[in-house]
């Protein structure tokens, strides 16, 4: 199939030319450095784009223009923000636990980077592909909460402490729902690897494949993922009207910037995992039998599909964020433990029945199977 804009040809050409000209060790080293640089660049650029997009979309939801002074339509605004945050002083606070205070941003960034590396951005644009992909992602992203707790503890500030405690309770609660929602799809596909999951969704996305059960799981995953990133109506840990800035009150300059960065990237990561697991990842829209249409769809490169689908989900998250007021902590925990978790457990059983009774779309219409 002709796929003119894909990066696969470029990557394999690079690999073969390198292998022809030097020993394997150096080839691997160069490739690893390239992977690292690509990840770093993607991380930074995505953060910049996300911050700009959030500010602009937020503004539109509030009937104003948003940033429009720095550059045309304000597109240079977040670049100016980055420069500003680099030039800010990192203040040394008295009475903090210095080692933990310093270590907390590492946990945040490393956790989000390890998750970021496991996302399939497109055909062959996939750094870590474990066969336990889904479990790996849920496991590694839970490292971030350690960063939050350590930040809150080490600051020796009451606001930070309360923010961190709330964040801990909130994160562990919603982590469960997210895990169970992903498990529903694992039941459906029978694999935990992201690449295999995408391959199985060529003609029928998982959200359609398991119809009722999948849609419930999708909604639950979006809610709990949104809650895990401490945003929107779930931003109790940093409720600015009561806790100033929550767990990162005492952080200044770039150290604060890391928390900010991790928050935005976590938003992206949640959206992209939802895309990969439920909406077919980088797979273009394909209809079995219509070869011409499929060919046209393949002209759009896979990473464009991926970022398009993810962008829609990020917009949804922003939409929710600016629609609803902040929850109280008892409402928050009630929502998880009394609604999402029981529904989730029942939903898994429904999915098992759907799979065993052959009621999924791919079972009913074998033409949809890849």
């Amino acid at each position: 199939m002709l796929q003119p804009l894909e990066l696969t040809n470029l990557l394999s050409w690079l690999d073969t030319t390198l292998r022809d000209s030097m020993p394997v060790f150096w080839v691997l080293l160069i490739e690893f450095v390239l992977v690292a640089v690509a990840l770093l660049a993607a991380y930074a650029i995505l953060a910049i784009i996300l911050i700009y997009a959030e500010r602009k979309i937020t503004a539109f939801f509030q009937a104003r223009f948003g940033p429009n002074r720095v550059g045309i339509y304000g597109i240079l605004q977040s670049i100016a923000d980055v420069i500003k945050i680099l030039l800010k002083e990192i203040i040394r606070i008295n009475n903090v636990d210095r080692f933990l205070f310093f270590a907390a941003p590492f946990f945040m960034i490393v956790a989000s980077m390890l998750t970021f590396g496991a996302i399939p951005f497109g055909k062959m644009l996939h750094a870590i592909d474990f066969n336990i992909g889904v479990l790996y992602v849920t496991a590694v992203s839970s490292l971030g909460i350690i960063g939050v707790l350590l930040a809150g503890w080490s600051s020796n500030n009451k606001y930070s402490m309360i923010g961190a405690m709330r964040s801990g309770a909130q994160f562990v609660s919603y982590e469960l729902s997210a895990g169970f929602a992903l498990m529903t799809i694992v039941v459906l596909t029978g694999t935990m690897s992201f690449s295999e999951m995408i391959a199985k969704q060529e003609f029928c996305w998982n959200i359609f494949n398991g119809h009722i059960s999948s849609i419930i799981a999708f909604v639950i995953y979006l809610i709990s993922g949104h809650a895990e990133t401490n945003r929107g109506p779930f931003d109790l840990p940093e409720a600015e009207s009561e806790l100033t800035a929550g767990y990162h009150t005492e952080y200044s300059g770039l150290q604060f910037g890391f928390f900010y960065l991790a928050e935005y990237l976590n938003m992206f990561i949640i959206a992209s995992i939802a895309t990969t697991v439920f909406l077919g990842g980088w797979m273009p829209i394909q209809i079995p039998g219509l070869d011409g249409f499929n060919q046209v769809m393949w002209y759009i490169p896979s990473y464009a599909w991926f970022f398009g689908k993810t962008g829609v989900l990020i917009f949804l998250s922003l939409w929710v964020r600016w629609s609803f007021p902040r929850l109280r902590i008892d409402q928050l925990l009630n929502l998880e433990w009394k609604y999402l978790l029981p529904i989730n457990l029942v939903n898994i059983l429904i999915m098992v029945i759907l799979v065993l009774a052959g009621l999924t779309l791919t079972d009913l219409f074998p033409v949809l199977a890849p």
């Binding site: 636990d97 080692f99 933990l100 270590a103 474990f130 066969n131 336990i132 479990l135 790996y136 849920t138 496991a139 590694v140 839970s142 490292l143 909460i145 350690i146 707790l149 350590l150 503890w153 020796n156 405690m165 801990g168 994160f171 562990v172 982590e175 029978g190 935990m192």
Partner: protein, 167 residues
Amino acid sequence: MAEQIIFYILAALIAVFSVLAVTSKQIIRSATYLLFVLLGTAGLYLLLGYHYLFAVQIAVYAGGVMVLFIFAILLTNRPGENVKAERKDRRIAAGITSVAGLAFCGHIIYWNVNKAYTLLVPAEQKVQDIGLKLMGTEKYQYLLPFEFISVLLLACIVGAIMIARKR
């Protein structure tokens, strides 16, 4: 070769942080050092290709147990205070015991390492195999222990609630 280097780095990290976890005067720092030990262990699993176990180690220990530890530390009376040093004779006794334990374990590992080394081949375990083993009823399959885990977890929940509610 590279795997050996990674192994030695991980082993050194685990050893150093274990010692730090025991000797640290602040209880929260002890917990953090312990977390590093557990993450190092997860690294060892990854080195062996046990991806499932690696994820379990991180999810349970980093995500669950550490959060639990920090919340539990905050239940104590004065969590921020430094732990007082033990009496000198006790410290000496603890030192001797740990050295003896190290010698004992070291002896066993040293003499059996050749056998174990030939047995363990780094290989990627498929989760599907684990699942089949876990749910099967035949020999070397673990359905009954698996079901008992649920009862055990139920007992844990009940116990934890009973203890915490008494306060």
